[in-house]
Amino acid sequence: MSTRLVLQDTAQVVIDGQRDLDADELRELAGLPDEAVPSLAAAAHEVRLARCGSEVEIEGILSAKTGGCPEDCSFCSQSSKFESPVRPTAILDLDQILEAARQTAEMGASEFCIVAAVRGPDERLIDRVLQATDLVRSETGLNVAASLGVLTRDQAMRLASGGVHRYNHNLETARSFFPEIVTTHTWEERYDTCILVKETGMELCCGALLGMGESTEQRIELLMQLRSVEPAEVPINFLNPRPGTPLGDRPLVEPLEAIRWIALFRLALPEVILRYAGGREVTLRELQAFGLTAGINALIVGNYLTTLGRQPQDDLKMLADLRMPIGALSKVI
């Protein structure tokens, strides 16, 4: 049977919801030759359309507290453990957060995520985020998400009851590779916060960062682990090597390889909101539209936490050219 027919059969299994693809099947797809990647992408796109529809969700993100993080995530320029150019800043005030939310709303987004570079939030940060959530929701109508690190149950409950509808906490990489990337906290701590987020009624946004030196097998391991936490959203980040960090000299993921993994993420996680996140501009370059026909159905538009994105109007034009309508994909609004 030809590769294309095998892919059609594989896609149909996922479209029909008969069962999830297992690790062996994903491993086989990961090993397809480069020339089969467009067919793989097409299969993933069919799955996305069948299981999620054609709408694309747009989000803006804001680093409300930048740098000075006590954790040692090797990819991150906001860690206090490395000599990076990022200078720590105080928590932004409510006016600054609201202005960023207004910028986000002007881009046509439905989602605004407040992010802080911390191990976990202190009382002051929780209070600020809760106040900002209330303000942003009432002033802009945006859904508010947060990413504040490891949570206690009480903190998670307060965020949930305070209107934070989605919480981001990435697994980042496979459990087996995590100790090579982070030593100040464990993969299990991240997993536990993911479970807590769901238990307290928030949607879980739990993503990945590809290109840190993990193997193909570890990417498949990560897909299985992401599946186990049942996220509503999975942001895919590609390493954008940051000066001064331990991964600062790593090569970028190659564009076609990035498309391959976007497709595999969609085939492995057919119903998630699969979001383009950090690193897409430098990684995919001219192939950014290709990702939207390989399984992606959400974007972070505008700037990132410490780096800039491309012009929002370029992304909006891309979506219009693809005839993909913008909409909110949340399950709870």
């Binding site: 803006g60 993100i61 804001l62 680093s63 930048t66 150019p85 990022v86 200078r87 800043t89 105080a90 932004l92 600054q96 202005e99 960023a100 910028q103 986000t104 002007e106 881009m107 000066p243 501009e281 430098v282 538009v301 505008g302 700037n303 990132y304 936490l305 410490t306 780096t307 800039l308 994105g309 491309r310 012009q311 929002p312």
Partner: protein, 72 residues
Amino acid sequence: MFCVKCGSDSSACPGNCRSDLDPPRFCEECGKKLFVVVTPTSVNAFCKTHGIPAALSLKVISLDHASEGSLT
């Protein structure tokens, strides 16, 4: 004068030390790290000694309506 991207002496910096998608990180006057806040459509940067860097008026800003601001 200093490169706002890498902080080295601007006469020694080839000008392509960082990508266009990297915001300014160093004061062009003193070479010290800037306080920088990146928002969805703007960049706000501030040097404790020299205020807002002139480089912010250049193309490093993502949108036309990027606002000036400072951090204290």
